[in-house]
Assembly symmetry: C2
Homo-oligomer: 194 residues x 2
């Protein structure tokens, strides 16, 4: 196990913290060990935390009225994951989070993150910028669905989540791309033979 | 025309500014007057500003490869609008912004907003929270498209944008909801007769 300042510096890469700041931050995060298949969050629950993925892989998914699963996001090393609608608004979760590859997470509660903002403004700036990037990349993905073919989306997916493919099931990838597993196989075949 | 402190206070409702702060902020915003039909931003352009809608109505739209328009967002009084992918990442705009009802905007450049963050941290907090809300509501809309009927989405639309309907064209609303104008008419009829 790494010492906690290594973890704090891994989470907030470009920020230079003082020693008292690191000590303060250490107490705001909690380590969570998960094994493949574990559910971290269920739709309907209250969401008090967001999770930093130190290692492993998770996905958020949504179950529609017909019972069909839609994969909304994958989170790999150095990504953050939560049901952000619920986390930000205080409403109950509509998403589920599942561990799909053994994972080590560091979670921080909303209360602790707000305390940190008051005490260390550069952390607020860090999250403000992170939020902007997430918003941009989420909107990008929606526009890609309107503008790109399934093949182009698959190529983008591989570049966004490098090395993720060998660890996750085909139907999760297909669900994320909004296509069937049959289409996914066809696209892969096209790409390897072209 | 209102004095500039009225405008600053209208933009940042819940923040108490000192007089020097208001003076500083006044110089960061620029007033923009638009008439219906004007294009504020075209896909392919650089995006240096975001816009606060003081009055009137705008929409952002995306044109897909087949030339079809997709309305992504409407912005009415007290909303912010831009191509946020381009604004945050520095890439060229993929969206277009059109004034669909005579409008008064106040625009602020990325450079000025960053200066303001350094000088007045409560403005950075304001935008951090605004970003969180935007992210949550955008994600909510995507999930609604998966979970709700067109009728439910229309009802949500009316509650999100009260009084907007009489000012915008049916095909813009239909495009925003991802349905045809015929379906929109049918839904309206169903709601008035039920």
């Amino acid at each position: 196990m790494h010492s906690s300042d290594v973890i704090i510096n891994s989470i907030f890469k470009d920020i230079a913290f003082t020693k008292p700041e690191v000590s303060f931050m250490e107490n705001t995060f909690e380590r969570v060990i998960l094994t493949k298949g574990e559910i971290v969050l269920k739709a309907g629950e209250r969401v008090t935390d967001q999770y930093y993925v130190y290692d492993g892989c998770l996905r958020t998914f949504f179950i529609d009225k017909a019972g069909k699963e839609h994969t909304i996001q994958f989170a790999i090393q150095d990504w953050w994951i939560s049901d952000y609608i619920a986390f930000f608004t205080g409403e109950k979760a509509v998403l589920n989070i599942e561990c799909i590859q053994n994972a080590i997470l560091y979670k921080i509660s909303k209360k602790n993150i707000e305390k940190t903002y008051d005490r260390i403004p550069k952390v607020e700036r860090f999250f403000r910028k992170k939020m902007e990037k997430s918003f941009a990349s989420f909107q990008k993905r929606i526009l890609a669905n309107l503008a790109q073919s399934a093949k182009e989306r698959y190529v983008n997916f591989i570049s966004t989540y490098p090395n993720i493919e060998q660890h996750i099931k085909n139907y999760h990838i297909a669900s994320y791309l909004g296509i069937t597993t049959e289409s996914l196989s066809r696209i892969r075949k096209e790409l390897t033979t072209s």
